[in-house]
């Protein structure tokens, strides 16, 4: 059984203006994923498909998790 101390919670500094651990960066990625989709549906979907938003969100999320 995993020990709570084994979880990857070590804070680090990336391009985000705060120290974050893996959970923080995943959380920020999910928040951005939802925000980008809602924004896209409201303002851009008439001209660009929602799939573009999904691809963009996944890329942004990956960058945040890897470099944030």
């Amino acid at each position: 059984m995993a020990d709570l101390n084994d979880l990857p919670a070590e804070p680090r500094r990336g391009f985000l203006p705060i120290h974050t651990n893996t959970f923080d960066r995943c959380f920020i990625a999910v928040v951005l994923f939802v925000a980008i989709h809602l924004f896209w549906m409201r303002f851009l979907e008439a001209s660009l498909s929602l799939t573009v938003a999904t691809v963009l969100s996944v890329i942004v999320g990956a960058i945040v998790i890897a470099r944030g």
Binding site: M1, D3, L4, I18, H19, V31, V34, L38, M41, L50
Partner: protein, 293 residues
């Protein structure tokens, strides 16, 4: 047996209960949020419809208006409660005659059920019956009518919420103020700091965790307020006090549009979490980072 295994065993009952009553209902709402499900529609079965509910709600003027009203309500109510709660806590830190009695009276609103608070305020404010509009008209010639005037209805809901929940903030602040160490204040006084400087550079930073926790609790409560406002104004006049909780209730129960109501609930939850996180990141994490650097 390893200590971590024992720890997990102790945690297990709580985790099971949390999973059944917290995680499972959330997952259920998450699933329903992506479906078309209206028990009185031509097809009352639950059918997956992708992001259609979310696409609908970003253009739903009533939903967006309710959201804006709720944010406005949350801002005014929580700010007032924090300021008033802090000043009352400072007052209770001093000795004065009847302090114990006043403190007891002051915390009484906390034990009253929200529905009873709404009913009481309605009885006090309803035009033609309540004493407050009567005396305001008699003494000042002021026409208070929460059934007619939009601003007055909004203000009444804010004042009612402040009356009900300020004691909670006061108690939290009081506990935080009582637990502050004396040394930093003595050092600041020796350094010649005035009262404002002591408040700004010593008291406020030391109280920050308590203030932040209280703001989180009150903000979450304010964003999901339903019963008090329902009793006081019923969401009116028009839609002037139809906060997001009331709006979701109208969609889910009278209109039985479960799928759309669930998607609105999810977005409300999302916004609540994001606002609390932004507050935390802006006030705590960023400042801690500066300290490290």
């Amino acid at each position: 047996m390893r200590s971590s295994t024992v720890g997990w065993l102790f945690l297990a009952p709580t985790l099971v209960i949390l999973f059944i009553f917290g995680v499972l209902p959330f997952l259920y709402v998450l699933v329903i949020g992506f479906t078309q499900w209206n028990s009185f529609a031509a097809d009352p079965t639950m059918q997956y419809n992708g992001v259609e509910n979310f696409r609908r709600l970003v253009f739903d003027e009533q939903f967006l208006y309710s959201l804006w009203l709720t944010l406005k309500f949350g801002f005014f109510a929580v700010t007032s409660q924090i300021l008033l709660g802090y000043f009352l806590a400072q007052l209770f830190m001093r000795d004065f005659p009847g302090k114990g009695f006043f403190r007891t009276i002051h915390t009484l609103p906390l034990v009253i059920a929200p529905i009873a608070v709404g009913a009481t305020w309605r009885l006090m404010l309803v035009p033609g019956l309540g004493p407050i509009p009567y005396y305001l008209r008699q003494w000042f010639g002021y026409d208070l009518n929460i059934s007619r005037y939009v601003d007055q209805a909004f203000l009444a809901t804010v004042v009612m919420d402040v009356w009900h929940w300020t004691p909670l903030v006061t108690l939290t602040m009081l506990a935080a103020l009582a637990s502050l160490p004396k040394e930093p204040f003595e050092q600041a006084q020796i350094d010649g700091a005035n009262r404002f400087q002591i408040f700004w550079h010593v008291t406020l930073p030391l109280l920050k965790p308590a203030i932040l926790a209280t703001v989180f609790i009150r903000l979450m409560d304010a964003l999901r307020t339903v019963d008090e406002v329902w009793m006081l104004t019923g969401g009116g006049p028009g839609a002037a006090t139809r906060y997001i909780g009331l709006h979701i209730w109208r969609v889910v129960f009278p209109k039985t549009d479960y799928g759309y109501g669930s998607s609105m609930s999810l977005i409300t939850l999302y916004l609540t979490i994001v606002m609390c996180w932004l507050l935390y990141a802006g006030l705590v994490a960023r400042r801690d980072l500066k300290r490290v650097d």
